[in-house]
């Protein structure tokens, strides 16, 4: 055969490299997806056993307030009411997000609009360091500083949603801040120029143009921070008091899904109802993080249409 024609028809070296590269990256992504599917299957198979094998009613799981899986109630059904934990988890998550948002957005605006220089030199390393502090250490600081502080200020034991909120506030601050910074940076420069050219002050430009344009990104950051808060275990567990009770106020001991899960899992026997009930909590967590993600995606879509 004609050697030139042959050479032209054969894939080039570049094409081969391209194909190999694509395969490598495809392999990596499939591996990650496989891991996620495996975890999901693993948690779901155990979490659903509570309802199918141990015949716990899904509605009573979500609405009852007594959590003592080892004890059966008057009808012989085990007492697995997860409502106190659900309330506790949502409580700390929303409260910490509400407190963290102004700080995070403020810091992000400072870093992008007011003083990029100071922002890059001081705030960014500070925020990255906050991420690097292990949650165990956050927990101990919470226990030795925040809890006594709340006890002295408001009375009670100091353990409760308020203490959890404080600790989570510091923990999600870096996430929300860095994502807000990204969102603000992504706003094209000519938006700002146009606004400033119209005679708007820096604050007017920032608050009415830049922040508004970056809103979907900022919201994503907040929801992302909330997802973090929802899944955090060790630090919250140390300061919230871990009482499976509906909280009456912000300073009475409460519990979250993760705190009950983490503290109970080593003490139960795999395959028993107590253990399955804990996995149901884990499944609930997974579903919640799924919901958070769908929310993020929805916000993103809304933002795109503008």
């Amino acid at each position: 055969m004609d050697p030139i024609r042959d050479a032209m028809l054969r894939p080039s070296r570049s094409a081969k490299i391209e194909r190999r590269g694509r395969l490598i990256s495809l392999f990596c992504i499939s591996l990650i997806v496989a891991v996620v599917v495996a975890i999901f299957y693993f948690v779901a198979s155990r979490g659903l056993a509570t309802f199918f094998e141990n015949k716990v009613n899904l509605w009573s799981f979500l609405s009852k307030t007594t959590w003592s899986p080892a004890i059966k109630d008057a009808h012989g059904a085990p007492e697995v009411g997860a409502l106190p934990m659900i309330v506790g988890s949502f409580g700390v998550t929303f409260l910490s997000a509400i407190i963290a948002t102004p700080f995070a957005v403020g810091a992000a605006i400072f870093m992008t609009e007011i003083s990029p220089n100071l922002g890059k030199k001081i705030l960014q390393p500070v925020i990255e360091l906050l991420v690097g502090i292990p949650s165990v250490v956050y927990g101990f600081i919470g226990l030795s500083v925040v809890v006594p502080f709340i006890r002295n200020l408001f009375g009670g034991t100091g353990f409760g949603i308020l203490a959890g909120t404080f600790v989570l506030f510091v923990m999600i601050l870096p996430t929300v801040t860095s994502m807000t910074v990204d969102a603000l940076k992504a706003v094209p420069r000519h938006y700002r120029e146009a606004s400033l050219a119209l005679g708007a002050t820096r604050w007017q430009t920032t608050s009415r143009v830049v922040v508004r344009a970056a809103m979907p990104g900022i919201l994503t950051g907040i929801v992302f921070g909330m997802a973090r808060a929802f899944g955090e275990a060790l630090a919250v567990q140390m300061v919230i008091g871990n009482a499976a009770l509906l909280p009456h106020n912000l300073i009475s001991p409460a519990s979250t899904l993760t705190s009950v899960l983490t503290s109970g899992i080593g003490n139960t026997v795999m395959g028993s109802l107590e253990n399955n009930a804990l996995w149901s909590l884990a499944l609930l967590l997974l579903l919640m993080s799924l919901a958070f993600n769908l929310l993020i995606r929805w916000i993103g879509k809304k933002g795109e249409m503008k």
């Binding site: 007594t66 959590w67 003592s68 899986p69 080892a70 004890i71 226990l143 809890v147 006594p148 006890r151 034991t157 100091g158 353990f159 567990q237 140390m238 008091g241 871990n242 009482a243 499976a244 009770l245 001991p253 519990s255 983490t262 503290s263 109970g264 899992i265 080593g266 003490n267 139960t268 026997v269 795999m270 395959g271 028993s272 109802l273 107590e274 253990n275």
Partner: protein, 286 residues
């Protein structure tokens, strides 16, 4: 990218190499109760210095983990604070019990409550929530703050078995480790909880029960009723290294020196014996 691929290759080779391991001396794994872990760890350390080439891997994870893993033959020894019979979901018939130590559990309170001694009924009422202020038991005017261990933990199960006697405990704060319980009791006014004897220090106050003080001496005669065995379970009769190590744990020399030094009560000094159902018999003279 080449470097990255190289890294991957190295990691892969390491994996393969790992599959071919197992000839680097004998090794066994013991997991479970975090209360027993320090003792087994220390014993394993000594055993390994005496017997070169063996490796005893000791991990915590909780009594539930220990029992479920030994049941599934995933490990050689399952450490537990409880009789296997007391844990739902465990088939105790397949497991062989080795009681290696005894642990006494004492109620502790914040030093500011002004109480030193309680009757068992008072103690029960504290933990069921019927007594809500320390002045009801002769202490200061302080609200009672109950701190529990996590549901299912060995210490809590033992405490509730001998103090509450089938009454429902008050739903209260729970902590999943002794250290946390102690630091919370030490820092929270009016707090009360329970820990193993070896964790009592001067930041908390150990309470006497019906005038009996929580001492090792009183446990050995069952005058202090809140105690439990520390168990090492094996699946069937142990063989090989497992057997040697369990024998080493039970040996009088280990019991006398190591067990006592680490704050546990040696099984050999017990004057009574108790079974899973809680029946106590005097030990026959040796």
């Amino acid at each position: 990218m080449k470097k990255i691929l190289g890294f991957l290759a190295v990691a892969g080779v390491a994996l393969l190499a790992g599959c071919g391991r197992g000839d680097s001396g004998q090794s066994i794994t013991a997991v479970g109760s975090s209360a027993l872990q320090p003792l087994v760890e220390a014993a394993a350390e000594q055993y390994q210095t005496d017997h070169l080439g063996v490796f005893i891997n000791v991990q915590g994870g909780g009594t539930g983990t220990g029992l479920s893993q030994i049941q599934q033959r995933a490990v050689e020894i399952g450490n537990s604070d409880l009789f296997a019979e007391e844990k739902p979901g465990i088939n105790a018939k397949k497991l062989v019990d080795h009681r290696v130590a005894v642990v006494g559990i004492t109620p502790i309170a914040n030093p500011g409550v002004g109480v030193r001694n309680l009757s068992i009924v008072q103690l029960r009422r504290l933990f069921t929530g019927e007594i809500t202020n320390w002045k009801q038991v002769g202490g200061k005017d302080l609200p009672v703050v109950v701190v529990n261990r996590a549901q299912g933990s060995g210490t809590r199960t033992t405490f509730e078995k001998w103090v509450l006697q089938d009454r429902q405990p008050l739903a209260a704060q729970e902590q999943d480790s002794t250290g946390m319980v102690r630091s919370i009791v030490a820092s929270t006014p009016g707090a009360v909880s329970y820990v193993a004897f070896s964790y009592v220090d001067d930041t908390v106050k150990a309470l006497a029960l019906n005038g009996v003080t929580p001492t090792d001496q009183h446990v050995t005669t069952n005058a202090w009723p809140i105690w439990s065995y520390e168990h090492m379970y094996t699946r069937g009769q142990p063989t090989g290294l497992t057997k040697d190590f369990v024998t080493y744990m039970m040996a009088p020399s280990t019991q006398k020196r190591l067990v006592a030094k680490m704050g546990y009560i040696p099984v050999t000094s017990m004057k009574v014996e108790r079974d899973a159902a809680g029946n106590v018999v005097q030990k026959a003279a040796e």
